[in-house]
Amino acid sequence: MLSRVANNLIWMNRYMERGYSVLNLLKVNYSAHQDSPDLFPWTPIIKNYCGSESGFSSENSIECINHMVFNLDNQNSIINLVTRSRENARSVQEHIPRELWLGINSYYLYLTKPELPSKLYQEDPVVFLDRLLNHQLLYYGKIDITQERGSAYYFMDIGKFLERVIQISDLASMKLKEIAKTSDALERSFLWKNFLLSIGAYQLYLKKYKSTFQEDFIIKLIFQEQLFPKSLYYCVNKLSRHINQLIQTNELVNNDLEFLLGKLQSTIQYTTIESINEQGLTNFIASIKNDISNISLSINNVYFSNQS
């Protein structure tokens, strides 16, 4: 496979995964904001995705959703993420199933319909966001059913899980800042619950720990749950498997990748709740973010390095 193709496959999936996270977060925050606007403000979300100097500031839910879905100046708006993902998909059409390309193209065409933005103001925003989420889910479904399991699939999965780890850890740091602001137990439990909802882990939490919100359980679920596709443990495990597969077939240069992944895996797996609490969750997440950014850089280096 061409190195450029491998790189484009990674980014095609990274942008899609980011879009999926953003949409979920918008949907959950929209509902939470209806309950308690003070506890679930939009500003931290906008700041996280658009930077602190974006010039956009609003606590109006619809305006915020509009900014996060349609604003072309916002690098992480859904329309920009899907456009970039589509551009990557377009240039790797020989390597992805036809169904996948048609799906992502039709998502793009749907998003760029001139009449779509007005719908956000006319109909239920949840229905509106669900429609976009459906496109995202179709995308994953199509990959699952039609993509050949081989190097293209591994590169795509690397993109997906890299981005997922980044999204979950970013979201965790964002929520931790909010949680730190309050000592009210009820408010804290609201915030934790909201965090679980935003990454799609709420249902599993209830099933496992019932309706009692304890930080230790939540941390365990999000960081160390072995069989949950949104836990950091699961994502890093997948990442490591696919990277190793590509290293074994000589399609990825090892450099220090195996070392970095092994280190991250054991950090996540073997750090006890006690020691996380000891160093502080914020520091723990910061070290994960640092590790994942080194892994990401190391993969990028392979493709941007001068092979000639």
Partner: protein, 480 residues
């Protein structure tokens, strides 16, 4: 059912051959089945089919992006749903004529870059060649495998009011549009279910297979690695590049994916460097190799020409084929056919006046209202003057520019392009069409896909079919 109204208002163009109706307004035989179908279809149904065709193009991504204020807008190449139908007899002549023409043109290019017999025998003036911007000195003495220069061509034909096909242009560099030939057929199958087999239409779907076979055959390697070189996603024909690569199962590469080492071209893969044997390039000569041509080019590959000269890679079409594609050289194609093949041309050339000759310039000036003037190195319908619709001031201004270098211009009488019925605003209306069949030249001969791209001037009365100037396309059916 009553005859739908869109049939009665067909507004024939004077002195023009119509593809569907004879001069006496009788239906031509090859259109009987489709006409019968139309008689039983309401305008509403046809409009729905037209809408469906647009959606299909959009959703398949058969689009090009127009950039406006950095915001990309997806556009489709307009498609008229009614097919243009060619009889097997007409096709037989077209096929023979194109094969003859391409054989001669290929011999001409070989001759020009080697012995130059045709110049020494004064059949073609040497100055014409050396003044031509498409002449590449870098190609002198280079021997492409099997002496094939023009592997892929898309000759533009038009039908005059005498019913004969004339060659308008030879398009020997990187002709585009073949993906529309394939895609238009897929759309026809969807909008006219059951009609194609009834009409005995020849299939075009094997084009990618034949293309791949020819590309492989022109390599000297066993099991060669064939790639398609694209200028990238911002090129208006990018859709075509992705389609052809996908349908042939070959890699679509950009200049930055390739590298030349010790005169061998490699592509950068996840496994390391992999040798490339055949490059179907959709990048113009000028941009192919920054070491030899345009040094600012980032679309090409440094050193690719040296690799080519060593015979380590086959470039398709060969660099320098533009020399036979020049509008001034075009005039001499019938002479080339006689000179190299000792045959009379099967397909006619359009009478062409070279403004570099004082007597021709004089004649053209006197008859300007019947003439079209073109730049010899122009394409895409740009820089033309259509004498019958230009104002005196426009003509004067144009000649001011021409007079600076008359040899860079040719003139041709304005032909009556044949018309074919188009479905426009709920009615059938005649619109001017041309025809671009695609020919593939390999070591075992020339194959021409039975069909091609019919381009149509969608503006009423317009003779310009170029997509950049309001043109669209039609599916082209060749009957068994």
């Amino acid at each position: 059912m009553q005859e739908p109204s869109f049939f009665s208002s067909y507004d024939f163009l004077k002195d023009t051959w119509d593809e569907m109706f004879t001069n006496n307004h009788a239906l031509r035989e090859q259109y009987e089945i489709i006409s019968n179908y139309l008689q039983h279809t309401s305008a509403e149904e046809l409009s729905k089919k037209e809408e469906l065709s647009k959606q299909l193009f959009m959703h398949q991504g058969v689009t090009f992006t127009v950039y406006n204020d950095e915001k990309g807008i997806e556009k489709i190449f307009p498609f008229d749903i009614l097919p243009r139908i060619i009889t097997s007899k007409e096709w037989g002549k077209i096929e023979k004529g194109i094969k003859q023409r391409i054989t001669a043109l290929n011999l001409f290019i070989k001759d020009i870059y080697n012995d130059q017999f045709i110049l020494k025998d004064k059949v073609v003036p040497a100055s014409l060649i050396y003044d031509c911007p498409y002449f590449l000195r870098e190609m002198k003495g280079v021997a492409p495998p099997f002496d094939i220069y023009v592997h892929i061509t898309g000759v533009d034909l038009i039908r005059n009011n005498d019913g004969e096909f004339y060659v308008l242009e030879d398009n020997l560099r990187t002709p585009s549009g073949v993906s529309y030939m394939l895609e238009n057929r897929e759309i026809s199958k969807r909008i006219f279910p059951g009609i194609l087999p009834k009409c005995n239409v020849l299939s075009v779907s094997s084009y990618p297979d034949i293309l791949y076979k020819k590309l492989c055959e022109c390599s000297t390697q066993d099991n060669p690695n064939v790639v398609l070189l694209t200028p990238g996603i911002y090129n208006s024909a990018y859709y075509e590049h992705t389609t052809l690569a996908r349908l042939m199962g070959i890699e679509l590469v950009e200049g930055s994916d390739l590298v030349v080492k010790d005169h061998v071209v490699y592509m950068k893969t996840t496994f390391g460097l992999k040798r490339v044997d055949v490059i179907y390039r959709r990048v113009d000569d000028d941009f192919l190799d920054p070491m030899e041509f345009n040094s600012n080019s980032v679309l090409g590959v440094a050193g690719i020409m040296s690799s080519y000269r060593k015979g380590n890679v086959t470039i398709v079409n060969a660099p320098g084929t533009g020399i036979a594609d020049d509008k001034a050289v075009y005039t001499f194609v019938p002479d080339m056919i006689r000179y190299y093949l000792n045959e009379e041309p099967i397909l006619k050339n359009i009478e062409t006046y070279q403004l570099g000759k004082p007597e021709d310039l004089d004649y053209v000036k006197k008859n300007i209202n019947k003439m079209v003037i073109k730049k010899t190195d122009g394409s895409g319908g740009y820089g033309m003057l259509m004498g019958h619709e230009a104002s005196n001031e426009e003509i004067d201004n144009y000649f001011k520019v021409v007079n600076k270098n008359p040899a860079a211009y040719i003139a041709q009488p304005i032909l009556k392009l044949s018309t074919a019925p188009c479905y426009i605003d709920g009615k059938l209306s005649p619109r001017c069409v041309d025809l671009r069949p695609f020919a593939l030249y390999g070591p075992d001969g020339i194959d021409i896909c039975p069909g091609g791209l019919t381009r149509v001037a969608l503006k009423k009365g317009s003779l310009v079919v170029n997509s950049s100037q309001g043109g669209g396309s039609k599916d082209t059916w060749v009957i068994k």
